[in-house]
């Protein structure tokens, strides 16, 4: 794929916090309409990579282009076109479910009737139409996660970054989130997704990279990876590549 058509393009991307190297020189290119995964244990550098993409961490070294723009120089422009589902729930507990969407739309400059229409559309999409006036603290874990995803869509983003979207959810809630994501995929939205669940990676991602200790150890489609490493599943691939399971801390 050509670099121009890439939604995200990273070359030699590195990030250190003091002596701790979180991301140690990674290269990857995400094409339009792809669901691209980052698979790895906690501490592999997935979240730091995501944060550099959506502006919550400065690029350390190397080059990072998002939607054709250098994020180090065009943070505002890049952020205006992204949707972010963070790893930790940061819904606004002082606002209702509907207001969370409305206020978030406000940060993107959407207000008045447009914002209210978008709110109603997204509540419907997330299966929360009946909960618009609820306190966010009353929602179940699965509902909160669906609201976080809906919130990430207020600005009709060209790229959605999801940092461990189903961590901590029970299997039913996880399937609920997967269904929501499948609906978006059908619309041709580009995804960037981190996970430490093999099943999630295999199910959702067109292509993925396996990260360990700040580096990318292999990349490809889930089926390609299992064939290349002669393993029955991604779990086997991961073990084969890193010598340790996903539960291990890097």
């Amino acid at each position: 794929m050509s670099v121009d058509a890439a939604v995200v393009h990273a070359r030699g991307l590195r990030k250190a916090y003091g002596a701790i190297v979180a991301v140690d020189g990674v290269d990857f290119t995400v094409g339009r309409g792809e669901c691209f995964g980052f698979l790895g244990p906690n501490g592999a550098g997935k979240t730091t990579t995501m944060k550099m993409i959506y502006g919550l961490a400065q690029v350390g070294e190397g080059r990072l282009e998002v939607l054709g723009l250098d994020v180090a120089r065009h943070r505002r422009e890049v952020k205006a076109r992204l949707g972010v589902v963070p790893q930790d729930d940061n819904l606004d507990r002082d606002l209702t479910v509907g207001e969370n969407l409305l206020v978030h739309a406000g940060y993107f400059g959407l207000s008045g009737a447009d914002a209210r229409a978008r709110r109603d559309e997204l509540l419907e999409f997330a299966g929360l139409a009946a909960r618009g006036r609820s306190d966010v603290r009353e929602l179940s874990g699965g509902m909160r996660q669906r609201l976080l995803i809906a919130r990430a869509l207020v600005n009709r983003p060209e790229l959605i970054v999801l940092d461990e979207p189903t961590t901590g959810l029970d299997p039913a809630a996880r399937r609920g989130v997967w269904n929501v994501l499948a609906g978006l995929r059908a619309q041709g939205v580009t995804f960037l997704l981190t996970t430490h669940y093999m099943e999630e990676a295999a199910r959702l991602c067109d292509r993925l990279v396996i990260m360990d200790r700040g580096r990318i150890v292999d990349a490809g489609a889930p089926g390609e990876l299992t064939v290349r490493h002669e393993q029955p599943d991604l779990e086997g691939v991961f073990l084969h590549l890193t010598g340790h399971g996903l539960g291990a801390q890097a």
Binding site: Y17, Y54, G55, L56, A57, Q58, R75, R76, E77, K79, A80, L82, V84, P86, D88, D89, N90, L91, D92, R93, D94, L95, E99, V103, H104, G106, Y107, F108, G109, R151, N155
Partner: protein, 256 residues
Amino acid sequence: MTLPSVRDALRVWRRNARVFSHVWKGALLPLFLDPLFYLVSLGFGLGTYLASVNGIPYKEFIAPGLCASAVMWAASFETTWNTFYRMAESRQYDAILATPVEPEDLVLGELLWAATRALVYGTVFMLVVCALGLVSSWWVIALPPFLMLGGACFAACGLAYTSLIPKMDYYTFYFTLFVTPMFVFGGIFYPYDRLPDWAQAAAWLTPLYHLVNIARDLATGPEAAAVAANAAWLLAVTVVLFFAVPARAMRRRLVA
């Protein structure tokens, strides 16, 4: 240094205004009762024994200063506990910074909001003081914009402190060593004219002293030059402090 976008700052302001519109009844009362108790206790209690200060009845002497203190407490609470909660507990700042809003816009929005909230508290108290007949000059109606300016100055102080501390426990120091001393030494309860020069010089360094002087000047008949000088002090300190500390420190803290 990145200049803040006022447009984006107002988006943050609107979020806070919306939350306040839900909670104002419960939130307004305690912070408003506080200066009222001081007014009753000192103005009507102590004031019975103290006839006048500089020719002004004691109640009328302290009433404008208590408007200023209402502003100080409101802006200080907003930019300490409330701001820290949004930043570190509910992680609102992480959510906001993933939108086009940048750290400088966020800090400016918080400052403008705290100043607005302080304006509400100070003005409500001013109206009570007027209703009690403790104001002798119509110039008092010009006071609210200065209350907002004073609120912005206290907000800049609170945000500077908030941007630097690692945890909420540190606010004890802020209130014990900064806010409370301003309240008791800021010129609300006695004039500085006959105190030693060093005492007045120390008071001059605090925002409250300037806001108290403005409020008293306008409530008792203005001296335009003095009001302008005090307002200039508040504006200069607000602007310099904003750019020197919270605007920078918040970026370092939130976008590492």
